[in-house]
Symmetry: C2
Subunit: 293 residues, 2 copies
């Protein structure tokens, strides 16, 4: 059994990106530039955004953080986004979610120029991904594909159970995995809260992608010997052994499942670290105008 | 066993649309207007487009058919599309596919204003469909959902096998069926040319959507007693009994499968007639500005 080391892979990719940026710098070309918008003062959002900014610094990207009070109205926020859309120095723009209730997340995402939508949430990028036109893939599904690629875990003809159908994980990873492409071509079954006999579907699967947010849902009796397990669940639960009183738990009961499978991604340290690095990859792709002129 | 009568349902929907148009006319409001572009002189394309124009006449829509020689270059065609995009009288625009090889179909579809993309092929409409924002759904998947709705065939929690992963049928119908929505909420397995044990997957399914273009692929031994069969296959094969020397054959061996299932859509007369009527529905939705201002 091999533990998929997302932390190691993500560090490796960061070094690769840093090297590319160094070459860009030496050539005197424009340095990739990510802008992040943070509305309000939610502690978790604050942490996420500051990690993303720190990542930019580490690889040599420029970054701009725009903070707004949570009383900002929708029109004002839309105007700020339009300004960034028109700023030719900025390659990528992300708006940290969730937003305050009086602001429509969909409207905000729709306002971001799809050419700068390095989060891959804009309908144009999702639509292109589905029909197989290169586009920004959102961080979590991109991170999963990258892990499969780096560990040489082939998916062609394999039975895959995707548990969860969220817009940011379940739906995109399902579409990518049944796509006619490398690390696609799988036979995907999309499971969710209304699926009957999830156990039966899991045990017949070569690969399980668990993205439900249901702590330790997947137990050993649900897993085929030699299966590949990708755990995308991240739920904070109370813990007496942790200093903070909380620990991060995945959708998979790691201790018992690990013994049965060929590969498993742990929580934390599996898919999580990959998501941040995929944002950097998308920003670099935007700076290189890989998908859009 | 009930044969799903797509012809009857489509006539019924046409009458409903004609009635709506009549009301619009009496109120003196703008009549829905569909424009169709036909490039070249392919016999089949010619027939398809003329059917669509005839449908418009039947329900009282305005229609405009623009024909171009197959020597037209891409830039010129793009300019023609932009003209229609800017024509406020036109609600819907379709470009009949396939296009001559020197023209990029993707570029042409991308040029159509997504607000007038009543074929539902533009990335914005596909992306919105995937994330569950109302949008134009392309004709075949929309036709399938409409048949399920009119026959009151519920999909929630049902196991569905979708055979085929084309951009115009397999992918969109899969995304619709696992969506959190009425006539969604199914547990969908997407099968394709690289799927192993298709037979096993089919026999475990409550609903089979066959969209491979593989004549009579689905035989009785692949179907569970009481299953629902939607046949989207349309392949012309030689026939000695037909006047033209050809007949249209679906992906399902109707004679033997029909006896085992609860509902079955035949070819021809099942999904086929629905596709034309769904184009009318989308055009009416556009005229009513149902999704976009």
């Amino acid at each position: 059994m091999i533990i998929i080391d997302g932390k190691k892979i993500s560090e490796q990719i960061k070094s690769e990106i840093a090297l590319e940026v160094e070459i860009i710098r030496r050539k005197g070309e424009k340095i990739p530039h990510l802008a992040a918008i943070l509305v309000g003062s939610d502690g978790a959002s604050d942490t996420y955004v500051s990690h993303k900014i720190k990542d930019c610094e580490q690889v040599g990207f420029k970054s701009t953080l725009l903070r707004f009070d949570d009383s900002i109205n929708e029109d004002k926020l839309i105007n700020e986004i339009i300004k960034i859309n028109n700023d030719t120095d900025i390659d990528g723009l992300i708006v940290q979610l969730p937003l305050p209730k009086h602001i429509s997340e969909y409207k905000i995402i729709d306002t971001i120029d799809h050419k700068k939508d390095v989060d891959g949430f804009h309908p144009v990028n999702i639509g292109r991904m589905v029909i197989g036109i290169p586009s920004y893939i959102s961080a979590t599904p991109a991170g999963i594909i990258e892990l499969l690629r780096r560990y040489d875990i082939h998916t062609s003809g394999k039975k895959v159970a995707v548990l969860g159908r969220s817009n940011i994980v379940g739906k995109p990873i399902s579409n990518l995995l049944f796509q006619k492409s490398d690390f696609g071509n799988a036979t995907v079954t999309v499971c969710h809260s209304l699926t009957e006999n999830i156990r039966e579907i899991c045990i017949a699967s070569d690969i399980i992608i668990a993205a439900m947010g249901n702590p330790e849902f997947i137990t050993a009796d649900m897993v085929k010997e030699g299966a590949v397990i990708i755990d995308v669940g991240t739920t904070w639960v109370r813990s007496e052994t942790s200093k903070t009183g909380f620990k991060l738990v995945g959708d998979v009961k790691f201790s018992e499942v690990a013994q049965k499978c060929s590969y498993i991604s742990p929580v934390p340290g599996g898919v999580g670290p990959m998501t941040r690095v995929c944002l950097l990859q998308n920003t670099l792709l935007s700076a290189k105008k890989a998908f859009y002129k």
